[in-house]
Structure formats: structure tokens, C-alpha cells
């Protein structure tokens, strides 16, 4: 019997995608500590109106920001992790999965969907950091590869929004192989001449950086996002020194030539449409 049979049905019932936030609720910005009306922040693409700090958001919010009228078709919505290694550390892997599912109302660390963005067909892959640190296991690999195949079949462009601590330890080498699997499928997408834009958000590290996040036709990032292969703690331990200010942040990567540009979340949707139209040689519209 699979572990997921143990989860009650009501937990897996999808919650409604969007709830209107009532007035009078406040959010403290983690950047400048200012208390700002939650409604205002949400209307500002979850970016602080005082200091431009980009709040950590997930697939629900990105889909809402990118898809017209928040209308989209989710793919592989019922795919969940198996436990091929029967992995157990201080907790059994299935128990971790159940806890994460209950806590986040998500089924794994990525969601994939297609819909219209400014009237343009777009496939969006978005990672959810709240689900076991956005870690990449078999589900992430399989969903992304299916999304890539869908792009090739329909000749749609691809956007992947990364936010991840890297590969998921609980699936061992199978997690590692997702890097290979996704990269191989991205090679096919590229051979088909379809645009792939990789958006890196805070944080994007480990095996995700060392595979699909860095393989976009355009590699772009939100401001001040931590992006790297090794985590700052590991590097600090290796070199025995403190790391320079701004090390591994978006602006640092841009200066070292690894990003095409940095984009404010508020401008993301329009910038994407503009570039994707150019890359697909479509008329500019209005």
C-alpha cells in the first residue's frame, strides 16, 4: 500500500486558487521591517512598496501574476513522490511528504501549467520552496520533462521559475539524475527552436543551479536573489573566510556575466511578452 493512501481526502482537495485579502491586515516587510497593508503588497506583485524587497512567493502567486485572469490549465496535478529508497533519517520520507502536503496544500515542490499571458501561449513551471525547501526529486524532474514535451508538441515557449535548495536527498541518486533528465529534454527543446526563459528567485542553489536554472536562452533573476552552486555556509567553511558583501546575489551574477538581466517582479509579465514575441518573430501588438 502506497504511503499516500494514509492521507485523508480532504487534505488533498485543492483550495480555491485566489482569496481576496480583506482590508486591515498588515504584513511586515522582511527587508525594511515596515508594516504595510497586505492588500497593497499583493496588488504590488508581492513586492514591498517601501524598499522593493521581493517577498518569497510560490506557484499560486506566480500563476496569478503571469496568467491572464489567473486562468490556466495545470498539468500533472495529481503526480506525487514515491519512496523508491524507503528513505528514513530522523523521520521517514513518507511522513515528511505528508507533513509538507498538510502544511502547504501542495503535492510537491513544482507545479506546471499552460495558459495565456498577455494573450500569448505560455507554459510556466514554478517551484514551491515551501515544499521541502523546493527540493528536486523525481516529481520535479518528471513534471518539468512533461512540460518540455508539451512545449515541443504545441510549439509553446517555456518559462521556469526556480526557487530551490537543490536536489532532494531522500531520493538519492534518482534526484541527481533528474538534473541529467531535465537537461537532456531541454536540449531537445532547444533543437526545436523554442524559447526557454529561466527566472531565478531567492534562493536558487545546488543541483537546480547546476542544471536547468542556468540553461535558459535567457537567464534572468529577481533583484537580490541568492543564486549559486554551493551554499554560502559550505563556501565559508571551505575557504575559512567571511564572504564579501553581495556575494552570490543577482547583481553579483550579472556583473560576472551569468545573467542576461535582473527584473522587478512587477515588470515580469510585460517584459516576458515583449521578449517572447521578438524571439518567436511575432508582431508586437499594441
Amino acid at each position: 500500500m502506497s504511503w499516500y493512501k494514509r492521507i485523508s481526502e480532504n487534505i488533498l482537495t485543492p483550495t480555491s486558487e485566489k482569496k481576496e485579502v480583506p482590508d486591515g491586515i498588515w504584513t511586515q516587510c522582511p527587508g525594511c521591517k515596515t508594516a504595510i497593508s497586505t492588500k497593497t503588497i499583493h496588488k504590488n506583485a508581492y513586492v514591498c512598496t517601501t524598499c522593493n524587497h521581493h517577498l518569497q512567493i510560490g506557484s499560486r502567486e506566480y500563476f496569478e501574476i503571469l496568467f491572464d485572469e489567473n486562468e490556466f490549465t495545470e498539468m500533472d496535478a495529481n503526480m506525487i513522490s514515491a519512496d523508491p529508497l524507503e528513505f528514513k533519517d530522523t523521520k521517514a520520507y513518507p511522513d515528511r511528504l505528508i507533513d509538507s502536503i498538510k502544511k502547504t496544500k501542495l503535492k510537491d515542490a513544482v507545479r506546471t501549467a499552460h495558459g495565456k499571458s498577455n494573450g500569448l501561449d505560455l507554459v510556466v513551471v514554478c517551484m514551491d520552496f515551501s515544499f521541502i525547501g523546493g527540493s528536486m526529486g523525481s516529481v520535479v524532474g518528471e513534471k518539468i520533462c512533461n512540460a518540455v514535451k508539451f512545449c515541443i508538441e504545441n510549439r509553446f515557449p517555456l518559462l521556469i521559475i526556480s526557487r530551490s535548495g537543490g536536489a532532494r536527498m531522500m531520493e538519492g541518486a534518482l534526484s541527481l539524475m533528474q538534473m541529467a533528465k531535465i537537461s537532456a529534454n531541454l536540449a531537445l527543446l532547444s533543437q526545436n527552436g523554442l524559447p526557454y526563459i529561466s527566472l531565478m528567485t531567492d534562493p536558487t542553489t545546488g543541483g537546480v543551479t547546476a542544471s536547468y536554472a542556468m540553461l535558459g536562452d535567457l537567464n534572468i533573476a529577481e533583484p537580490n536573489a541568492l543564486i549559486g552552486f554551493a551554499g554560502p555556509r559550505v563556501i565559508k567553511e571551505t575557504i575559512g573566510q567571511n564572504l564579501p558583501e553581495g556575494f552570490q546575489r543577482s547583481e553579483f551574477l550579472l556583473e560576472h556575466g551569468f545573467l542576461d538581466f535582473i527584473i522587478d517582479r512587477k515588470d515580469l509579465k510585460d517584459k516576458l511578452s515583449s521578449l517572447l514575441k521578438i524571439m518567436q518573430k511575432l508582431p508586437s501588438g499594441e
Binding site: 541518486a173 541527481l176 537532456a184
Partner: protein, 321 residues
């Protein structure tokens, strides 16, 4: 066996018996007494004990063997199984990475490009080789050599032996993540046969960065996983001490990886590990490579690439609600 300087705790009972055997032989020659019966029994016991211990190695013991300092390293294999090796240096951009070596050679009559991470044996050479941990230049050098091989239709062989890609400040500045990612993509569509063999440690992205092949093998006592048992222990158990449990949980052995469908086969090592008999693994590796080169060089390139992508696309296990 007697020359082995690095003896593992689990081998101690074997060495205790060997010491007794030596004492017995000494007594025999000093006192002119015939103990040949007892010697024979003890020799038989030693052999049985060896078989028993070495065929029941747990995963952490295999990790230890994979790191034994008398194991052959990449350049040892190249010297033993190839002819006409010409080492090629540099990534043509920044520098030459000493943790990644490679060059043209022949195996049998087959021209090949052979590439691998290189570790050092003594302190000085270990530092020179950066403990087998490549910087981005290493991965870019490997890719440059692979492209060179592709241009001339020469098969690529990679030998994997690394505790990980180097987690340094400059490695990050020069795009360690991008370098590995680029290799994964390019290797998956490289227009020439690729055979990869884990000969020691296969640690995470640093190993995979030269690990996308038509055939992927592991030597019998090596490991290949998403993280080292020590780092896994420190993250999940919040202590470095649970490395044995972590090794078991990660299922990182050659046998595990074969069962998980990650590798195509296991290349045998001599009893106790490659360090006990280098020639044994040289022969076993060469035999495997020659038999694959026979097949892969006769396969047309589009089929080769399609099969390679399909092979990796099948990896992973998911469920549905």
C-alpha cells in the same frame, strides 16, 4: 596484501589471522618442526574469513574502500589500459584545471578521448590536484575535449572520481553551476559514443558533470549519489557522526544504483577492493570498454543520441493520486 598501509577496522580480523600465520611460519623455520597441517588450516580460515567479510560489505565500508589511497586513479588507468596517450591541457578561457585531466589515446585499436577527475596520493600532489575537486575550468576543459572528440567522431570515455565540484569563492564567481549544467546538456546530445565509469567517488553534480553517457558503469566498490554520506548526515541528522546510517539510507552502492536503473552494469573488483590488485581492475575495465566500443561505434549517431536521451528520461519514480 602485506604492503597495504591503510587497513580498515572491518579488515582487522583478517590481519590478525595473517599475523598468526606469519608467527607460525617463523616458528616452523626456527625450530624445524612440521606445522604444515596447522598452517594449511589457518590459510584456509583466512581465505574463508576474507570471503565472508568482503562479500558482506555494508555501504559505508564500500565508501571507505572507494577512497582508499592505493586505489588506481584516472591517470593510472589511462597509463595501464591505453596507448599513445597525449594529455591535452586547458579550457581555452581561464586556465588549466589540474583536478580534471584528459587527452587523445587508443584502447586496443580504437581511438578515444579519455577524460577524468584526478586525485593525488601524497599531501603535495593532493593539493596540486585540488583533492579531485574541479573548478568550472575543469568542466569547461572536459567539454572542450568532448567537442574535439565529437568533431572527429572519436568516442569519449570519462572516469569519475571526485568528492564533489569545488565549493570555492572563485568557483562561484566563474559559474560552477553554469559549467556543470552546460556539460549535462551538451553531453546528452554529443554526436559520438560516450562511456562513463565511476572508478572511486561519484559525488553529486561534480560527478554527473562528466557523467552523461550511452553506457554508465560503476566499479564494484564505489559510490554514486546526490550527496556524500557525511554531508547528508550533517544536514539531516545535524551531526557528522551518522555517516554510516546516511550511507545506508542513500542506497549509494554500485549494486543499489544498478537496481535503481541508474547504471548499466558493475565492473568487478578483486576481493577486498581495487587497491589489492590493480591489474585485475585494469583488465576488467579494458574488457568492458572494448566490448562497448565494438557495439557503440557501429551504432548510427541519431539512434545513439535518441537512446541516450530516452535512457535518462526514464530515470525516476513517481506516483499518482
Amino acid at each position: 596484501m602485506e604492503n597495504n598501509k591503510q587497513i580498515f577496522e572491518f579488515e582487522r580480523p583478517i590481519y590478525d589471522l595473517i599475523t598468526r600465520l606469519e608467527e607460525m611460519k617463523a616458528i616452523t623455520s626456527e625450530n624445524q618442526v612440521d606445522m604444515s597441517g596447522a598452517v594449511a588450516v589457518l590459510e584456509k580460515n583466512i581465505l574463508e574469513l576474507k570471503n565472508n567479510i568482503y562479500s558482506n560489505l555494508n555501504r559505508w565500508q564500500k565508501v571507505q574502500i572507494s577512497r582508499h589511497t592505493n586505489r588506481p586513479y584516472t591517470l593510472d588507468y589511462i597509463e595501464a589500459i591505453t596507448t599513445e596517450f597525449t594529455e591535452l591541457f586547458g579550457d581555452r578561457q581561464v586556465k588549466d584545471d589540474k583536478a580534471m585531466v584528459g587527452g587523445f589515446a587508443r584502447i586496443g585499436e580504437y581511438p578515444v578521448m579519455i577524460i577524468g577527475q584526478q586525485k593525488g596520493r601524497d599531501l603535495k600532489s593532493r593539493q596540486f590536484r585540488n583533492f579531485g575537486m574541479p573548478n568550472p575550468e575543469g568542466y569547461r576543459k572536459a567539454l572542450r575535449l568532448m567537442r574535439l572528440a565529437e568533431k572527429f567522431g572519436v568516442p569519449v570515455i570519462t572516469l569519475i572520481d571526485t568528492p564533489g565540484a569545488y565549493p570555492g569563492l572563485e568557483a562561484e564567481e566563474r559559474g560552477q553551476g553554469e559549467a556543470i549544467a552546460r556539460n549535462l546538456l551538451e553531453m546528452s546530445v554529443l554526436k559520438t559514443p560516450v562511456i562513463c565509469v565511476v572508478i572511486g567517488e561519484g559525488a553529486s553534480g561534480g560527478a554527473l558533470g562528466i557523467g552523461i553517457g550511452d553506457k554508465v558503469y560503476m566499479l564494484e566498490h564505489t559510490w554514486y549519489s546526490v550527496i556524500s554520506p557525511e554531508s547528508c548526515s550533517s544536514i539531516l541528522w545535524r551531526t557528522w557522526e551518522k555517516k554510516e546510517l546516511a550511507a545506508e539510507a542513500l542506497k549509494l552502492s554500485a549494486q543499489d544504483n544498478l537496481e535503481l536503473g541508474i547504471i548499466d552494469g558493475i565492473i568487478p573488483e578483486p576481493l577486498g577492493g581495487a587497491h589489492y590488485d590493480h591489474q585485475f581492475v585494469f583488465n576488467a575495465l579494458k574488457e568492458q570498454l572494448l566490448s562497448d566500443l565494438d557495439v557503440l561505434t557501429k551504432t548510427d549517431t541519431p539512434t545513439l543520441i535518441q537512446n541516450r536521451i530516452e535512457k535518462f528520461s526514464k530515470m525516476g519514480v513517481v506516483d499518482y493520486i
